[in-house]
Subunit: 129 residues, 2 copies
DNA sequence: CGGGATCCTCTATGATACTG
DNA sequence: CAGTATCATAGAGGATCCCG
């Protein structure tokens, strides 16, 4: 997550907006936002089960990134064993909703994309030897 | 227990929807869709200049991925030197528009995110030794 | 239970050179 | 001009162990 200040890197790919976009569209960011949008609040291990396949490291790391960006609220209750709740901030809900719209479009159009891929693969198939 | 709103195959990070989502939100995919949404049609080298900082390899690779998904139309005119035009398909325009909406939200809320980061970093600053 | 610290693997991306 | 092929590398992500 490096923010370059080099003049040579003045391109669209490394601007601050792009970094934030990467956070909310990252492999696990998308899924965490979706789960939290639906669930209001959830504990660490519940999130892990809900997302499925995410490692503890990536869950902690992604949650920290989203918390730092102000999209996720972390509430730790000082009890033993620890109890930590995660939820979306109002700002986070805005992003989650927008990402969710994109996700829905993806699902809605997936059949057409699959067809397109089949046509592409057929057209570009290796000529029979 | 499954989260109700989420279709079953969205819970996995490697489901087909997720692959398509990765394509349209990839580092260069977002930028190419944005540029093509604005330009209608563009040549390979024009795209390279418009995006800025992308290597030939990644440009070719990303364009091929989007073409295979049916989002980008590639038209090669058999002349010398080669002349190839890229444009969005109607399907591609749907995705580009949706991704663009997300990009606009990111830019609109970036100041708040930056503030949130500063608050986070201040709060979590190392205590003076 | 909710992480941190380490180590390690693999993938995305870049640099460079070549070609029809 | 519009790519392809090859090699190299940073960093994302996973596995494992540990701790309050």
């Amino acid at each position: 997550m490096q923010v370059s200040v080099l003049p040579a890197d003045v391109n669209l790919a490394n601007c601050p907006s792009r970094v934030l976009l990467d956070h909310v569209t990252s492999r696990w960011g998308v899924l965490l936002l979706a789960v939290l949008l639906d669930a209001e609040r959830m504990r660490f291990s519940a999130l892990r089960r809900a997302v499925g396949g995410i490692s503890e490291k990536m869950l902690a790391q992604t949650l920290q990134t989203l918390e730092r960006d102000g999209l996720v609220l972390r509430e730790a209750r000082p009890v033993i064993p620890p109890h930590v709740d995660y939820s979306l901030t109002p700002l986070g809900r805005e992003f989650a909703a927008q990402v969710w719209e994109l996700t829905r479009l993806v699902e809605r159009r997936l059949p057409r994309v699959v067809e397109a891929r089949e046509r592409y693969d057929t057209r570009n198939a290796e000529p029979s030897p």
